[in-house]
């Protein structure tokens, strides 16, 4: 539980929801008990204004940003990459419509962003990264972004940060369900079905998603001809079942299972032979059981999860077929004690066992990681709080160096909701299993990558007394060094690429966020903005002939900006999203670049209430101005395209 003093110190002129929200996000342990207070009715309704802060300085000095269901509901057919590129400061490198999308978070590589689903790390232990196009929005209820060192409370190696996907029960619910069908351009269809049922102590939640896409969008090729994208079709299926059981508000049991299956053709570049057919089949089964015990002065969490994934890649030109299978057994135990005034101690232990059977490895490879973890939160004064996080990984019997993170938070005024924060951390990323064991090129002698980071930030929010206007702002600056960065390096005279600890990166940047909500002439108007400045440069050359020192990393934009404007009235809703992606260099010597571009997407919808049913109709128009663009060289992107969604929701039996 969060100490009472923390609650008092908050400016409670804010809505209590805000306080609850902060509490929810302040601890791993306490959230399910508060969710009943959180108004989750809206998980089945369309966006209504929820006055709560999205910018959180928490863990005393670490930055987090939360996105909730109000954002996901009108974007049910989207995937994680779309949500993040339109609404966060994380840059998503997309290889095309519905195909591979990887993150660059605070100027880092894809391996430096970890994705968790209910505490299970989804990043493949082989590749160390995650394809964000394969995570459908419909499969989770909330999302939280842990920036930089904030991620150390979850895992090591997330120099960029952690993206946490959560599902949560609504204890007030008796029965609710929806069925949604999206029909989009280029033969793309998405179906979502969702049913939640239960009572005050038991809830069941079932989610089914199915997408199939021909994805043969037209584009202009080098010869100036308009041609259709080839070999870009896919089908994706997901099914999840979650059970939550609460006993006397003290014991919470949950069991969750998520099966997903993706069958994709990988689209060629504009320079490929159209006869080339590359395919990727993925199957994943994730299961997690969890127990939480909440006492007045202490909490306990125990979790055990299994992640079983199968991947098959084929390439007809290279006559290649390669199969990879891995299992991860992920266990976590956390204890939290707040019996001493102003002090909370959260020790914990994680145990992960990875087992990989890959055509590209010589034999079966395993890895055992045991992590010891402690978080100490101490309130020096009611206005000044501090937090110390310590983590140490024991990988296959070998201790990695200590991972420490220290954060402080200062709230100078009682009446003004303004906070300043700072943190300092050292972090390590252990090599991925591919980097260690890939046939003929894995390098078992690799050392972990090292990261030192400092960060300062501030958040502010203001609400007018009549609740008609709300503003929140966030500012953060970071400075982060990565040493011994692992890069697949060509080896002189061998024609092979071998991963080596050769690179050094300095990433520094500024993140600005400004959210405004208001009611103007009866219209609910909202606006959310994110601006991100990021210089991520090479600091070490491979030889005296290599001129990359001080140059911006490949495909990482210096400037990105996005804004979303939403307007709602009479059950109509309108949303305009604008994304600016700055220039991205295509060579490390920064001699060539992909020019920046602006993208605009809109949607407009109507909710029709018929007794306990809500019928929603929505039209989306993407790439509104029909921009002919490429985000990555020779990877075509679609011009203007649209979607129509019809959704029927039943939600009548909530308790008052």
């Amino acid at each position: 539980m969060v100490p009472l003093s923390k609650r008092k110190s908050l400016n409670i002129s804010l809505l209590s929801k805000y306080a609850i929200f902060l509490l929810y996000s302040s601890g791993l342990l306490c959230f399910p008990l508060f969710t009943h207070a959180q108004n989750l009715k809206d998980t089945l309704r369309l966006p209504e204004f929820e006055f709560k802060s999205n910018f959180i300085i928490d863990n005393q000095g670490f930055k987090r940003v939360k996105m909730d269901s109000t954002l996901f509901i009108p974007n049910l057919s989207a995937d994680l990459s779309t949500i993040l590129s339109e609404h966060s400061s994380i840059f998503i490198k997309s290889y095309g419509n519905g195909t591979l999308a990887t993150p660059s978070f605070r100027g880092t590589s894809a391996q430096h962003t970890q994705v968790e689903w209910n505490g299970i790390n989804l990043n493949s232990p082989m590749l160390g990264q995650m394809d964000f196009s394969q995570v459908p929005v419909a499969q989770f209820d909330g999302l939280e972004i842990l920036y930089g060192a904030a991620g150390i409370s979850r895992t090591s190696g997330a120099f960029g940060g952690v993206i946490d996907l959560v599902t949560m029960p609504d204890w007030n619910n008796r029965f609710k369900a929806y069925l949604a069908q999206t029909i989009a351009s280029f033969g793309n269809y998405v179906t979502n079905f969702n049913v939640a049922a239960g009572g005050r102590s038991f809830q069941s939640h079932t989610k089914v998603n199915y997408a199939s896409a021909v994805n043969n969008f037209p584009y202009t090729n080098d010869f100036g001809d308009v041609v259709s994208q080839q070999n870009a079709s896919y089908t994706a299926f997901g099914l999840s079942q979650e059970l939550f059981w609460k006993v006397k508000d003290r014991h919470l049991f949950s069991a969750k299972i998520w099966y997903s299956r993706d069958d994709r053709n990988l689209p060629p570049t504009t320079q490929d032979d159209p006869q080339k057919i590359e395919t990727l089949k993925d199957k994943a089964l994730r299961g997690v059981v969890e127990y939480k015990l909440v006492e007045s002065k202490w909490n306990l969490l125990v979790r055990s999860a299994l992640n079983d994934q199968y991947m098959k890649y084929t390439n007809n030109v290279l006559e290649l077929e390669s199969v990879h299978q891995f299992y991860s057994w992920i266990n976590r135990a956390r204890f939290s004690y707040s019996g001493v005034r102003n002090l909370t101690i959260r020790p914990g232990v994680d145990f992960v066992y990875d087992r990989v059977n890959s055509d590209e490895y010589q034999g079966i490879k395993t890895r055992t990681t045991t992590s010891l973890f402690t978080e100490i939160n101490y309130n020096i004064t009611p206005k000044l709080k501090s937090s110390l996080v310590l983590r140490d990984d024991l990988i296959d019997g070998k201790f990695s160096p200590l991972i420490p993170a220290l954060g402080v938070e200062y709230r100078p005024a009682d009446k003004i909701n303004l906070a300043f924060s700072a943190n300092l951390a050292r972090n390590y990323r252990s090599p991925t299993l591919n980097e260690l064991y890939w046939k003929n090129s894995g390098n078992p002698d690799l050392a972990p990558e090292t990261n030192y980071s400092i960060e300062v930030g501030s958040t502010y929010n203001f609400r007018s007394r009549n609740n008609l206007f709300y503003l929140e702002a966030s500012l953060a600056g970071y400075y982060s060094w990565i040493y011994d960065m692992i890069v697949w390096t060509p080896i002189e005279g061998s024609g092979l690429f071998i991963p080596q600890n050769v690179s050094e990166i300095l990433a520094r940047g500024i993140e600005l966020g400004l959210n405004l909500n208001g009611t103007v002439w009866g219209f609910d108007v909202g606006m959310k903005n994110n601006y991100n400045f990021c210089r991520s440069t090479y600091e070490k050359a491979s030889s005296g002939f290599d001129n990359k020192i001080g140059k911006q990393q490949l495909y990482i934009p210096v400037n990105t900006f996005n804004t979303t404007i939403s307007i709602e009235r009479w059950n109509y809703y309108f949303n305009y999203n604008f994304t600016f992606t700055g220039d991205r260099f295509t060579g490390v010597e920064n001699n060539s670049l992909m020019p920046g571009y602006n993208l605009s997407n809109i949607f407009i919808g109507k909710n029709i209430h018929i007794k306990h049913f809500i019928l929603s109709l929505q039209i989306d128009i993407n790439n509104l101005f029909n921009l002919d663009y490429q985000s990555i060289k020779n990877r075509p992107m679609p011009g203007i395209n649209g979607a129509f969604t019809i959704k029927l929701a039943f939600s009548g039996t909530n308790r008052p």
Partner: protein, 371 residues
Amino acid sequence: MKKIRCLIYNFTVLCSLIVLSILPSACSKDPIREKIITPPDTTKVATYENGIFIVNEGNYNWGNASVTYLDNKDNTVIQDIFNKSNNRSLGDVAESMTISGNLGYLLINNSNRIEVVSLKDFKSVSTITGLHSPRYLEVVDSSKAYATNLQNYISVINLKTNTVSSTIQTTSWTENLIRYDRFMLVTSIGRFSEPTAVRKAQILVIDTQTDAIVDSIQSGKEPIGIVIDKKQKVWVLCSGGYDNFEAPSLLRINPELRVIEKVFTFPDPKAVPSRLCMNPTGDTIYFLMGGVYQMPVTSAALPAQPLIRPEGRLFYGLNIHPATGRIYVSDAKDYVQNGTAYQYDVTGSLVKSYTTGRIPGSFCFTKNSTK
């Protein structure tokens, strides 16, 4: 209350201002494609008939292959001449270039095509399709050429019509080739989908009059280079396998008897030689193995020391000027920036260096190239 109203007003104005400022900029109609910032290249060359082409492979699946031209007359270096003349990308992974008459044949490996260009202006004359990861092309006569593929066939190209006229079936993938008398000697490296132990390594002997495989010679794993010396002996360089399956070797073959006369085995299986070349007088062999190695054909042993040390460079392409005998070697650096090509004289002293495109892999000299 006034303050609040004021805020709301400002908020509305702000929203509208932002929307208004976004809309015009969002309406840009220019396609968003890669832009080259430096070097700014305004050079104009009338023809490409007297110079050296550096074929830059580009990154696999990035589609950034290009050709750099070194002009002999006015000593200029021009980047990406294909794009300049044709206003489109050369393709994905340009493997090699061969000249026949006034035409250049560029084999674009991952685009599965051969771009035929006129040396007069480098404009595309024809695009030959129907190949499968083409590697190298060798001219038989003015009307016929063979192209190797990473597939079980060799493509026979009709140089008059610039089409694939027929194919020669093989049992595995083919790599390099050279003409000897009326035969074409083709190195065959096996299928990469098979383990190196079972991959076939042989030199196929093809009768160019009948397009039939008439004989084969077993070799070390992965024969990747083939040249002929002044005594008409054929030299074959075998890498030993990309996975260091066996020690690399250099073979001397008598093409008349079709037997291996001599085998030089490299001492270190991890140091892999590549880019076998012959000087114009046919008495000295060159290859890359980290540095540039030079070896007289009469030598009894492999050279112990390189002629040109890499000194931190990643030597990737090598060729010997057919007129001057000078050594052209390229540095691919870290593969994600533009490379550099170096010209050395036969003693190994540096003459000149040139900036190239991404991953410079091979050199092609025009017939009357004199420098």
